[in-house]
Symmetry: C2
Subunit: 304 residues, 2 copies
């Protein structure tokens, strides 16, 4: 089944303690779409300016990513520039130029409105809701969010949550949203506020997944070197939702467990190179091999 | 098989944001011994003053903990007092009185010297080495350590490490010992410095286990409320080593995986009440039930 993905499409400049690269393809929707495309066809919704490389549209076409929903308008593409600290964990935004993104009002092509799986990648919750308003009963809605929306548009976020099946957020965002220090309490509390499932990403510590009566915990792939963490969370969300859509059914908790592992696998590859470079050459064989490593590193025997 | 455990035995005063209790049984060896005793007989080595409650010796006897190696001397028992912050994670030491512990020089009873499994619970590495010097070829040596020894007695610690089969330490200690931010790099680097296996405890994020060519990662039990974190690491080490000794063979990596889970289970119970109170009433049935919850929360299906 297809996945509709809406989010930002950007041109990034990223500086790490070791390297700096400019004009990289970035944005939440770019990472999420490529992550999802390994498993399912994608219908992409976003906006770019006339400085956006035409080659990316060709690339999307080659990867079962339908870009009919990407508006190409007069002006400049959204630009973001950030710098990572020596630990590759904390980052500082150096500049943001919203450009054409400032007046983005997603309008879905008619052919998009009956898509079964939806990933509302990280953008303002009001825009995420506006996309849902245009859809005919999607089967499963995944939403990602960030600290900015928790702090500045909390009412919009609260209005969105009951319309979401799975909310994805990171550990500090979960704590901020609930004012709970325990991630277990935070995950359970968020679930009560709307989404049937909650996934909390913990970076190098893996991820937690909550349902009403089940709980799943997994570690992160044991990477020694991270070259560019940008987009790891978006890739996680994309891989996860793409996998769910490929199962072609109402997701079970078992499907969600596997989806979290696939999301983690995709994210672990993504951080091995700048921008989407690693994902561009990634193969299903490599994904499967790393899935099996996740399996091996998590296993222990049952009680005799 | 038996486990020889050496470490501190203390009387603690613990304050949390909610409660304060004085004169509690504490110390690394107290927690570790009770944790191990669920799986294997324990030979305890330590020192107490004549203010130490005689009832504890009766309790140890009732729990297959041989206290012939506990010296009872004139003077006061080691006392520690600490206070936990509102997040129950950071703690401040309010006072330490070493008392009889100041001149502790562990001397093993003859009957202890051929014990197969050894847990050097958290005390100065020179004392840990001194215990090993008195032993006849133990089969498997586990050592715990802490930031204090990394900072103040690094040479002693470095001398101990090659004599250890499994080193247990927490995430911040692993980073401090290696000057690596990545725990994966840190774990691998420590292993190269001596111990065949390294276990890194990550509190609410679970634990990592490294061998030369295998890796294991597990989450923490999803506890919502922690009443007293004191001794969680010591209980983890005790449960882990006690389980290994019960397997009655040279531990395999599979044994170590299960041992890490048992250690985590024991630690998760320990923090549910002050001091060792929860461990005193804990049953094997409760331990097995929580082991199964760990299993259920970690599982996901293999690739089709």
């Amino acid at each position: 089944m297809s996945v509709l993905i809406v989010g930002s499409i950007a041109l990034d400049t990223v500086k790490t303690p070791v390297e700096e690269h400019a004009d990289l393809l970035g944005g939440s929707a770019s990472y999420a779409a490529l992550g999802a495309s390994f498993f399912s066809p994608v219908k992409l919704v976003g906006i770019v300016g006339n400085d956006f490389p035409a080659a990316e549209f060709d690339f999307w076409k080659s990867r079962q990513i339908d870009a009919d929903g990407v508006q190409r308008v007069e002006g400049k593409t959204f630009r973001w520039s950030g710098e990572y600290a020596w630990d590759m964990n904390t980052r500082e935004t150096r500049s943001v130029a919203l450009n054409v993104f400032e007046h983005f009002r997603p309008a879905l092509p008619e052919s998009y409105r009956e898509t079964d799986f939806v990933l509302l990648a990280n953008i303002a919750p009001a825009l995420q809701s506006h996309v849902l308003d245009q859809m005919k009963r999607p089967r499963f809605v995944v939403a990602d969010t960030m600290d900015l929306w928790i702090e500045t548009t909390r009412a919009d976020l609260d209005a969105l949550l009951p319309r979401v099946d799975l909310l994805i957020l990171n550990d500090s965002e979960a704590r901020e949203l609930t004012k709970e220090t325990s991630l277990i309490k935070a995950g359970r509390k968020i679930r009560k506020g709307g989404p049937r499932y909650v996934a909390i990403k913990k970076g190098e510590h893996g991820a937690l997944l909550f349902s009403e009566d089940e709980f799943f915990s997994c570690g992160a792939y044991p990477l020694e070197d991270i070259h560019d963490p940008t987009g790891a969370g978006d890739t996680f969300a994309g891989g996860l939702t793409g996998y769910l859509a490929s199962a072609k059914r109402e997701p079970t908790f078992s499907d969600l467990r596997r989806a979290v592992i696939y999301g983690s696998v995709l994210a672990s590859f993504n951080v091995e190179a700048f921008s989407l470079e690693r994902l561009r050459t990634l193969t299903m064989e490599e994904i499967s091999a790393r899935y099996q490593i996740f399996k091996a590193m998590s296993e222990f025997e049952s009680l005799g």
